[in-house]
């Protein structure tokens, strides 16, 4: 089998333990470590600086959202999903709302569909901005983090104005959106696009073009397209390897079939390809927003739904493309007001599983860079 080294399961033992016969060094990265962006715990077996094995230990912030949702009604459970992948909270909510709508067979008004897509794309940009800054910080450059936050703050302000919150908005409800957009929304988004266009070249100057950065990223952590699919990777991780998997293209939802955009594909499969995919995806999101921002149709922002939602008996699955990859919401209904079982197929969980595969044989510094390019959000993995 591909697992060469025996790894101790118990984290506390492995801290004090070095396997004596092989001379390997076992170190714990996390649960409290600056590079894990949360409470991920990796047990790394090292030979010198070279990584022999990476073993993730999860569950430090597992809240059992799937179990919680079993006792929440179809209106209530959506707010919890914001807490999964908090950086693309809107898209999580959207996927859940879509799944409930699929069960109810509600037609969502055009206006609500467009607003949802706008919000989802803004969320995607905000998420990628944060990733970009954190990625540079993982490599030791602090300044880009703050520069990325300048643009991200603008998006957060837009969200705050329309949805009433900056991170966990709970804006999508079954049947549409909770409130109509704020009167200033369109102007603010246009201002943001202008700001973004003005500042985007700085990203290349500071990070992308930098020779140190390129040397750190190129040819590191190579993931083949076949492996990416086999490991269930999705989103920019798979697209960086050339595996086309954009849910927005193949299984369009809401207004995505009405807009023109390209699926960003890179064939390198290394960290740099994954980096480029995300940077270029921001550009595509801007394109989508530009197409829609002046064409928000008039009408209702929410379809008429009953006060108490009851899904018919059956199973409903909805895919959505979050900033990290493909999110699946799988609702099994027994006909009541609460789901019988709900499963969230989180993109981060599958993307993390590939880390051990691509990190083998790399240096510690590379592992950190790879974790950056996988864009791990720990609550998304732990749910």
């Amino acid at each position: 089998m591909y697992r060469e080294t025996e790894i101790l399961t118990r984290a506390n033992q492995s801290t004090a333990h070095e396997s004596e016969d092989s001379g390997d060094l076992v170190i714990n990265v996390g649960p409290q470590h600056p590079a894990t962006h949360g409470v991920l715990h990796l047990v790394i077996t090292l030979n010198g600086e070279t990584i022999k094995n990476v073993e993730p230990h999860l569950g430090y912030i597992h809240r059992s959202i799937e179990k919680m949702c079993e006792s929440l009604t179809y209106r209530q459970f959506i707010y919890v999903t914001s807490r999964m992948d908090y950086l693309s909270a809107h898209i999580n909510n959207q996927a859940c709302a879509l799944c409930v709508e699929k069960g109810l067979q509600v037609e969502v008004p055009q206006r609500a569909q467009v607003i949802r897509v706008l919000m989802a794309e803004l969320t995607r940009i905000a998420s990628h901005e944060l990733w970009w800054g954190a990625m540079a910080m993982d490599l030791g450059a602090f300044t880009p983090f703050f520069h990325a936050f300048r643009e991200r703050e603008t998006i957060n302000d837009i969200m705050e104005e329309t949805c009433g919150a900056r991170l966990t908005m709970n804006y999508m409800v079954p049947g549409g959106v909770m409130m109509d957009i704020h009167p200033h929304f369109q102007q603010r988004v246009k201002d943001f696009i202008q700001l973004y266009r003005k500042k985007i070249h700085e990203y290349d100057e500071l990070v992308t073009g930098n020779i140190i950065f390129q040397n750190r990223m190129k040819g590191v952590g190579i993931l083949s397209a076949e492996d990416a699919i086999s490991y269930g990777c999705s989103g920019p991780v798979a697209r960086g390897s050339g595996a086309s998997c954009d849910t927005r293209k193949y299984y369009p939802y809401d207004a995505y079939n009405k807009v023109q955009f390209d699926e960003v594909l890179e064939t390198g499969g290394d960290s740099f390809a994954r980096y480029l995919v995300r940077v270029r995806e921001m550009q595509q999101s801007i394109n989508i927003i530009e197409q829609l921002i002046d064409n928000i149709p008039e009408g209702d922002f929410q379809a008429k739904t009953k006060a108490v939602l009851k899904l018919p008996k059956g199973e409903f699955y909805q895919r959505a493309e979050t900033a990290r990859g493909e999110l699946g919401v799988y609702i099994i209904s027994e006909g009541g007001t609460t789901p019988y079982r709900i499963k969230f197929r989180s993109p981060g969980f599958s993307n993390l599983s590939v880390l051990g595969h691509i990190a083998r044989g790399c240096k510690i510094g590379d592992l950190i860079a790879m974790m950056g390019t996988l864009d791990l959000v720990i609550p998304d993995i732990d749910r």
Partner: protein, 152 residues
């Protein structure tokens, strides 16, 4: 491939398959013993080519457990759902991690959350639950935790 064609192809491969109507994708019910060979076929058959296991989970129906595999093909872009009924007291099934690598992590999650034993899994250990977890499997319906309340 459309659902009808898929249905025909699957019934050729495995005549004992039962089909579930309704739902957007083809739902099939098979026996746990047929699973390993059938999975190999699904993955390797050129016209099926289900190479992307995008969701793997389990459902506790109080009388039995059901493994649910959501499969998709990145070549043909068709989807299929496979359900396998398991005994609730002694749930056992062959692992799919040799065919789809993503199953390794997902099966570990199902193992600790539902107590399903995956035969020949390379590394069947607790992934999310704390080490030394004893007692019931959290996502089963009869699980109650008086200390960390989940129900409101």
């Amino acid at each position: 491939m459309l659902n009808e064609a898929l249905k025909q192809k699957v019934s050729e491969l495995l005549p004992t398959t039962a089909f579930d109507e309704g739902g957007e994708w083809l739902n099939i019910n098979i026996e746990a013993t047929d699973w390993p060979a059938f999975a190999q076929h699904l993955r390797n058959d050129g016209s099926l080519f289900f190479d992307y296991l995008f969701c793997l989970t389990c459902v506790d129906w109080k009388t039995h457990l059901t493994m649910v595999y959501h499969l998709s093909s990145t070549k043909h872009r068709h989807n299929m759902v496979i359900k396998i009924k398991l005994d609730r007291d002694k749930p056992e099934i062959e692992t799919a991690s040799g065919i789809w690598r993503t199953a390794e992590f997902h099966e570990r999650e199902v193992f600790e959350m539902f107590g399903v034993n995956f035969i020949n899994h390379p590394d069947l250990r607790l992934l999310i639950l704390p080490d030394g977890w004893e007692g019931k499997n959290p996502l089963r319906k009869d699980f109650e935790d008086p200390v960390n309340m989940i129900k409101l």
